[in-house]
């Protein structure tokens, strides 16, 4: 997106850019780009169009049923309670987990950036001995790997890990909570609608917070040190510096991270599908899971596709809203 403002990569009026050479480039360009574009057309763009097409049909593959029914799948959506409940679950899951991830990610990023990079230190301690600095570097590196771990673990694996932590009888979570005295007897975390949904949220927070922290940390490191120096000269305290210097400069990246995370949380599938299967009842059933079950368990390809289209529409709306915000932010 931001690359849009780049000047054309073609050489300026240098002696090298002879017309004949340019002509060769014009022939090669589509040839080199076409294999990738072909795959995208065939397996990404085509299927999107195909899904919309299917949404206007009643298609039950096992019964060889395939008929055009116009908008009837979509009118069925409007009165489908399970769809609305899945919408609610998806929105709740997205809002709560993304908010927590952003907050925790910001705290972790500040924690890793500030004290370890030495910018909040007084001038005298900044010139610590080489040994001290070496040690700090090593701590930072280890923390980097540790933080990367939850993000890099396959989602399916993280679902299995948390399922075991939440186990009502032998789970570590209940063991700790009972031991500390927070609860009297073990809780069946995944057996109750409310706690199951929050259990899924906690798992997502565990998995995605590192991603947020890593991106925000990179953004923090890109802030010029002179700005902090100037703030200190002006007598600004840590909180004022954060409010007046750090936060405004971080805002564009925060918005980008929010966009990424919202898209990801909104389309959540593997994590919740493996952790709870959408249960108990349909209490943790997100839009992706409902659409998937409709497609591949009830084998209703028409209605399942309509559900997928509805979700696609919702996600596009949310993205558009974010992009508008982002554009306004960049213009300001």
């Amino acid at each position: 997106m931001a690359n849009a403002s780049r000047p054309s990569p073609f050489p300026p009026q240098s002696g090298l850019a002879r017309p004949r050479v340019k002509l060769t480039e014009q022939v090669w360009a589509p040839v080199l780009a076409s294999p990738a574009l072909l795959l995208i057309m065939l397996f990404a763009l085509g299927p999107i169009v195909g899904t919309f097409w299917l949404a206007f049909h009643r298609h039950l593959p096992i019964f060889q049923v395939y008929e055009f029914i116009g908008l009837r799948n979509f009118s069925r959506l409007l009165t489908d309670e399970r769809f609305w409940s899945a919408c609610g679950t998806t929105f709740y899951f997205t809002v709560v987990s993304v908010a927590l991830e952003l907050l925790l990610g910001l705290i972790i990023a500040l924690l890793l950036h500030g004290p370890l990079s030495g910018q909040h230190r007084s001038a005298s301690t900044m010139q610590t001995d080489a040994g001290g600095r070496m040690r700090e570097w090593r701590v930072k590196d280890w923390i980097g790997v540790v933080i990367l771990l939850p993000w890099i673990v396959p989602t399916v694996v993280s679902a299995r890990i948390w399922e075991w932590l939440y186990h009502p009888e032998y789970g570590l979570l209940n063991y700790f909570l009972v031991k500390v005295g927070l609860v009297q007897e073990p809780i069946n975390w995944l057996g109750d609608p409310i706690s199951a949904l929050h259990g899924a949220i906690l798992m997502d927070v565990w998995k995605a917070t590192p991603f947020v922290a890593i991106l925000l940390l990179a953004a923090l490191r890109a802030i010029p040190q002179d700005l902090y120096l100037a703030a200190r000269v002006d007598g600004a305290g840590p909180w004022a510096t954060f409010r007046q210097v750090t936060l405004p400069l971080l805002l564009p990246v925060i918005l980008i991270v929010l966009t990424f995370r919202t898209m990801d949380a909104f389309r959540v599938f593997d994590a919740v599908y493996v952790l709870t299967g959408g249960g108990p009842g349909n209490s943790t059933e997100t839009l992706s899971i409902y659409a998937y079950k409709t497609l591949f368990q009830m084998l209703q390809f028409g209605y399942g596709s309509a559900l997928a289209c509805a979700m696609f529409g919702l996600i596009s709306l949310v993205t558009a809203a974010y992009l508008l915000l982002l554009r306004r932010q960049l213009q300001a």
Binding site: L32, V253, V274
Partner: protein
């Protein structure tokens, strides 16, 4: 820290407190990130009898039985081989085709270039569920259901946007003069890409390859939908469908999840910097 409090309590004490607080916070973060995975590792070493009582948190008599069971009683080894083939082939294809496309976007004249980049960005954002019904029907029509080739094609396609974005930004950093010098020397654009543009961009190619490999190794929804039997089943699907008659065999499961996670953990340890660079490439610089 044997300092006379009358002298050093001020800044010295402050520093100790701050350092202590910082250490405690960092340890909390580390425990939150590592804890669940460590618990899985501890579980995988406990004999079955020890799994159903908790007071001893650490195993009293550690055993490798669960790892043995995973490789002898289940098809996990075979599924991991499938995963490896799919991930490596998809990575090679996505990087190969992605390089050609990224090079075009970075250095050659192509009408609607920004449209193409925008299209790739859009595709990396839309939910896989929105394409899965058509992809399933398409793959079935091609007769590719339950084959590794189907997964390779799909994983390559959905990794391409990521690969092209990362590669384009790296190719743009290679000076244009190098390219034109090669062209004047009589290289074709393709030859110039291979001998002049690619070598300095190798770090970027490595970043893209790592991200594509991890994506393919972890991908679940397409792998679940397009495979039916052990023939093409990948490791994440095997973990999700882990056999258990009445109760999940937690010890075996823990061993299996760790075995499946081991390759990506290894990559994280070896290439932490590159992975972080890839994650941040699009959002911070762009």
């Amino acid at each position: 820290m044997r300092t006379d409090p009358a002298f050093r309590l001020g800044p010295g004490m402050q520093r100790v407190i701050r350092l202590g607080l910082l250490t405690a916070l960092l340890l909390t973060v580390a425990a939150f990130c590592l804890g669940p995975v460590l618990w899985q590792a501890i579980t995988s070493l406990k004999p079955n009898s020890a799994l159903v009582r908790l007071p001893p948190v650490f195993p009293e008599s550690p055993t490798l039985d669960h790892y043995r069971a995973v490789f002898t009683k289940s098809a996990l080894g075979h599924d991991m081989l499938n995963s490896l083939i799919v991930a490596m082939t998809s990575t090679a294809l996505a990087i190969g085709l992605g390089s050609l496309c990224a090079f075009t976007l970075a250095r050659l004249p192509l009408p609607g270039k920004h449209l193409v980049l925008g299209l790739f960005l859009g595709i990396s954002m839309f939910p896989p569920i929105a394409t899965i019904s058509s992809i399933y029907l398409l793959i079935r029509a091609f007769g590719l259901r339950d084959t590794l080739l189907a997964l390779i094609l799909i994983h390559t396609t959905y990794a391409l946007p990521l690969a092209v974005w990362v590669l384009t930004s790296f190719f743009r950093q290679v000076p244009l003069e190098l390219y034109w010098a090669a062209r004047v020397d009589g290289c074709s654009p393709l030859r110039a890409l291979i001998s002049v543009i690619l070598p300095p961009a190798v770090p970027g190619v490595a970043v893209a390859a790592l991200l594509v490999f991890i994506y393919s190794w972890n991908e679940f929804m397409f792998a679940l939908t397009l495979t039916a039997t052990e023939r093409a089943r990948t490791a994440p699907v095997a973990i999700a469908l882990f056999p258990g008659l009445h109760e999940v065999p937690w010890g075996d499961m823990a061993a299996a999840t760790l075995v499946v996670t081991a390759p990506v953990i290894l990559l994280a340890l070896l290439f932490q910097r590159q992975i972080v660079a890839g994650l941040t490439a699009g959002s911070v610089k762009g």
